[in-house]
Amino acid sequence: MFLINCPYCGERDQSEFVSGGEAHIARPKQPTELNDDQWAEYLFMRKNIKGIQFERWNHAHGCRKWFNVARDTSNDKIEKIYKMGEQPPKL
């Protein structure tokens, strides 16, 4: 349970948001050329980091916009919030 500072709406309770999981997993540019290992990597394999993880979040019960969050999963502390398309911050 924590607060998230939506870049569009401001600080709201986490329950207003939906987690979109690990960020910066690029959609394959040439899906037809992927082999099974690459598909497994893209679809299923996750870093699942204990520590600072980069994630996508959606303000589902608010502006419904997506953005990125750098969050420490060992204590749920949010280090940085940045917009979609931006590179992950150096922390």
Binding site: E22, D36, R46, K50, D76
Partner: protein
């Protein structure tokens, strides 16, 4: 040799105020080298060590645990045991475990308080009814006991359920597995620990794994807070922290670790003599032998290792509980906690070899691993000892995420787990 627990030893020790019980397991320092090391001293890890020693005669082995044994998800679950899963592979896996549960207290000479009080799953809409009936048929084809109950039969089996058709999610029926039930979770860890220790297994607590040493694609040992331990076989049973250990070996797993919550009420007189689960409204409840209601809530939607969980998840569950059991409206909840569960994309576990020789993973049990503890240990021990899976866990290999041969138990398994 350990003293046998019995009614006579209980009476004998009563005369000395229970101050002279023999120690149940030793507290050894790690040796320099073992034939195999199990990472994680929960129920699954201790069961693995127990069966490695008992069935595969591997006695020079150790279990390393970063905290105390049974202090993770083994001590944090809602102790529900059942085997009514949809798919053949899952049915085989979970019923294997259930069959071991049925004789476990005798085998371990440790009362795990296994109670076959039945588990009932409720249906609240037409799709639930179809899914649960389908699952009942699938169970029976696999030789697993399952019956469909109409609403009046649900009421008869558990009279305190509100079966009024005027509530938001009315009870339209349910399934019942009579062989299912509960067990005392701590006793499972302690019983396996005592049994493994007797066969010479070193159970090393307060020993955190810090790294996995490899030479090429073969494991050489473990870096721990108690020094380096050389071994050729490492079995990782670290539940929510499986990915953390995998990262040390340069592996990625298809897991996400999330908090799952449970809570217990103040103790009251016996009121519910079975386990009732409801997937649609995500509420399940049973009563412990102490009299506390044991209530399971859902997982948070985000990855976290905090062992806490969000309040709104508990609120949702309690809303559903109150609608289904109006009699609980004045109950006070005493304790709430979270455990970190490692969830696979197909909601089925991984009991598997890996691309690194000598490194094995038993993980991905998600929200429902407790019920499988004995079977999981037995099959993982087989996999480690033979370097090959048993036929019952062959489907639960890590390669299924590459081949696409998933065992999709989402929803189909009457989940809530």
């Amino acid at each position: 040799m350990k003293n046998k627990y019995s009614i006579f030893s209980l009476i004998k020790n009563a005369f000395s105020n229970h101050e002279n019980w023999q120690r149940a397991w030793r507290d050894p320092e790690p040796k320099k080298e073992y034939d195999a090391v199990i990472v994680g001293g929960g129920g699954h890890g201790l069961a693995t060590a127990y069966y490695l020693a008992k069935k595969h005669n591997l006695r020079n082995i150790a279990v390393v645990e970063k905290g105390w044994i049974g202090g993770g998800n083994t001590g944090r679950n809602t102790t529900i045991i059942r085997s009514n899963y949809l798919w053949d592979a899952s049915a085989g896996l979970y019923d294997h475990a259930l069959k071991i549960w049925e004789g476990l207290s005798q085998e371990l000479n440790y009362n795990v308080m296994f109670s076959q009080r039945g588990v009932m799953n409720l249906a609240h809409n037409l799709q639930d009814v179809r899914d649960l009936k389908r699952r009942t048929h699938a169970n029976r084809l696999n030789g697993i006991d399952a019956v469909w109950l109409e609403t009046d039969e649900v009421k008869k089996f558990c009279p305190i359920i509100n079966t009024s058709q005027d509530i938001r999610y009315p009870v339209l029926g349910g399934t019942l597995q009579k062989r299912a039930g509960t067990a005392r979770h701590d006793a499972v860890a302690w019983g396996y620990a005592r049994g493994a220790d007797e066969m010479g297994v070193d159970i090393i607590q307060n020993c955190e794994v810090k790294g996995i040493k490899r030479s090429g694609d073969t494991v050489e040992g473990l870096e721990t807070t108690k020094g380096f331990i050389k071994t050729k076989k490492i079995g990782v049973v670290a539940a929510g922290h499986s990915s953390v250990i995998a990262n040390m070996a340069g592996l990625k797993l298809p897991l996400e670790s999330k908090p799952l919550q449970a809570l217990v009420s103040e103790p009251v007189k016996p009121i519910i003599d079975t386990v009732v689960m409801s997937n649609a409204v995500h509420a399940y409840v049973s009563q412990s032998d102490k009299g506390e209601l044991v209530i399971g809530a859902g997982t948070d939607s985000y990855v976290s290792y905090t062992q806490k969980g969000s309040f709104n998840i508990v609120e949702e569950t309690l809303k559903a509980i109150l609608e289904l059991y109006p009699i609980f409206s004045r109950m006070k909840m005493l304790r709430q906690w979270g455990g970190i569960v490692d969830i696979c994309p197909d909601a089925s576990p991984i009991i598997s070899k890996t691309s690194i020789k000598g490194l094995y993973f038993n993980c991905g049990w998600g929200t429902g691993g407790f019920k499988a503890t004995p079977g999981s240990g037995d099959l993982f021990a087989h996999t480690i000892a033979n370097d090959e899976p048993h036929k019952l866990n062959a489907s639960f290999n890590i390669n299924r995420f590459v081949s696409g041969d998933l065992v999709d138990e989402h929803g189909a398994a009457a989940v809530a787990h």
